[in-house]
Amino acid sequence: MDTGKKTARKVTEAVSPASAARRKFINSVAAAAGGGCLLALGAGLYSRSASALPAQALRPPGALPEPDFLAACVRCGLCVRDCPYDILKLSDLGDTVATGTPYFTARKIACEMCEDIPCVKACPTGALDRQLTDINQARMGLAALVDHESCLNFLGLRCDVCYRVCPVIDKAITLETQHNPRSDRHAMLLPTVHSDHCTGCGKCEKSCVLPEAAIKVFPRALAQGALPAHYRKGWEEKARHGGSLIGEQVELPVRGFEGPTAGRSATETVLAPSAPAPAVQAPAVPAAPKTPPGINSHWKP
């Protein structure tokens, strides 16, 4: 290539060997540049298409937000080596997780939440942020009780396993008491996840007794909603300022709740057939539990 360059410079335009050399030089540069750019572009496109973290893959504690993580992680596997419980894996080529990056799958094995966080200490690049010093502040993901139909506690049983195994018990997962409308005389204790305490360690999903877990841990970007920034909760603002910010409001009579739910809280839905039929309902089929008229969303916990 160098010789071609020199020849091209020395000899004038008219001489054909020089223009041939120049043409060869330009050709070779174009081919090299084209090939190089094409390969780099291909790699770039591939990385873009695969850069979304799949739902079942969780990053180690202290991981930067996914786009920053993919910039910072050099795929060295030092976090994998220093994990005392062999929880982390490096993704293989063709996996849906970015090639060579560390992740774990909660249902297979959950993070043990070591107090000294050795994986974070091992990271040489800051893809795992050393500002994380309290493992309870880790946000590897967020648990979500995704299936209310199969969760045993939602069926009125006392499984409670996800609640019991939670390392941040009574903060990240609480049991919320609800009336059980099916039996009408029992309570349901519903496992409820709180995002401000859940570390996403995956213990709940790992331990769910069902063949397919009813509670699952997802990357936060998938599991968590967000209110618009301008939203204010009236009751919170009221409490903060010691009174309504817009003055006392006129109490209007509530209309349209003439059914049996009128005057009750929404969670207190009663559908017992033995209940006396409300006055407005025509007692045509008194034996069958019938939908009361009026506004009733039929929401049951």
């Binding site: 290539m1 070779s28 540069v29 081919a31 090299a32 540049a33 090939g35 190089g36 750019c37 390969l39 780099a40 572009l41 291909g42 790699a43 770039g44 591939y46 990385s47 873009r48 695969a50 850069s51 786009p67 920053d68 993919l70 910039a71 910072a72 992680c73 050099v74 795929r75 060295c76 596997g77 030092l78 994998v80 080596r81 220093d82 490096l90 293989d92 080529l93 063709g94 996996d95 970015a98 090639t99 060579g100 091992a122 990271c123 040489p124 690049t125 800051g126 050393r130």
Partner: protein
């Protein structure tokens, strides 16, 4: 090649004093030992619980004190806009200084695991007499090297690391993965059927980067006994970068017997195969020529 006496030069083979197997394979054996020992340093931990080196060629920690980081990877990280911890800079600086001193592409022939695959492909190509294919321009690797940095900057991720066969293969060997087989198999077939020395000599941006570090290398192969050369072409045949030999051996554009081109991987294979013992491993300031 020297192990099989070629029919075209029976006289030369007969005249030359018989060289032992060690003399004919010394640098190859040493290189393979080096590649194997480096791999074992990473594998002794997971295999025997004896931790020597943790991590992989991208970034590692040896004996709990010595951080090493691939400087090219650090450059790509910086191109994405992320500034890593000091350990990564220290590690990259150590690696950088080592290869600036001893020769950039020593990495390719003495460390890189892909070298074993491409050497095997080149050997098979010679043995099978395959002449077909089209070799890309040797400068493609520099464009690709630039491309890796541009791709990192544009995508904001280490784009090249998704497919980089060098780190992919080393990681696969150490952490046990199957997907790399396809990439490495692809490179073997490419080198075997399409382009002689196509990957390492023409495309690999990692090799291109280490080549750039090799301008000041102290360890060099020289041809002090070049008068004895009988033009048998054995060295050209085995050399992964044959263009580097001519200036030193034939005094083209230089008087010095040193192979100074930074493309030279200092693999020493030319020393092994030369029956006339023209070549030797030496240092940069050794200008002796017989």
């Amino acid at each position: 090649m020297a192990t099989i006496p070629l029919p075209i030069k029976p006289a030369a083979a007969a005249c030359a004093p018989a060289r032992s197997l060690w003399q004919r394979q010394r640098w190859l054996i040493l290189r393979r030992t080096s590649q194997l020992l480096i791999l074992l340093a990473f594998l002794s931990g997971p295999w025997f619980g004896l931790w020597i080196a943790k991590g992989n060629l991208s970034s590692s920690l040896t004996l709990g004190v010595l951080p090493l980081t691939d400087p090219l990877l650090l450059l790509q990280t910086l191109a994405t806009g992320h500034v890593p911890y000091a350990a990564a800079f220290t590690g990259a600086a150590i690696v950088l200084v080592f290869y600036l001193l001893f020769g950039g592409r020593i990495f390719c022939s003495w460390v890189c695991p892909v070298n074993v695959v491409t050497d095997a492909a080149a050997w098979s190509r010679r043995r099978l007499g395959i002449k077909t294919g089209r070799v890309p321009d040797a400068d493609t690797r520099y464009w690709l090297l630039g491309g890796t940095l541009v791709a990192s900057a544009l995508t904001g991720t280490l784009a090249w690391e998704w497919v980089n066969p060098v780190s992919l293969f080393h990681r696969a060997l150490i952490f046990g993965m199957g997907g790399a087989v396809f990439v490495i198999g692809g490179i073997f077939l490419y080198d075997l059927l399409v382009a002689s020395r196509g990957w390492c000599g023409h495309l690999c941006p990692v090799g291109a980067f280490y080549g750039l570090l090799g301008k000041t290398a102290l360890v060099r192969v020289a041809a002090p006994n070049r008068k004895a050369c009988d033009d048998c072409m054995d060295c050209f045949t085995v050399c992964p970068e044959p263009q580097v030999i001519r200036p030193a051996l034939k005094k083209v554009g230089q008087e010095s017997p040193l192979i100074l081109a930074s493309d030279c991987t200092t693999c020493g294979r030319c020393i092994d195969v030369c029956d006339k013992q023209v070549f030797k491993m030496t240092h940069r300031f050794d200008q002796r020529s017989e």
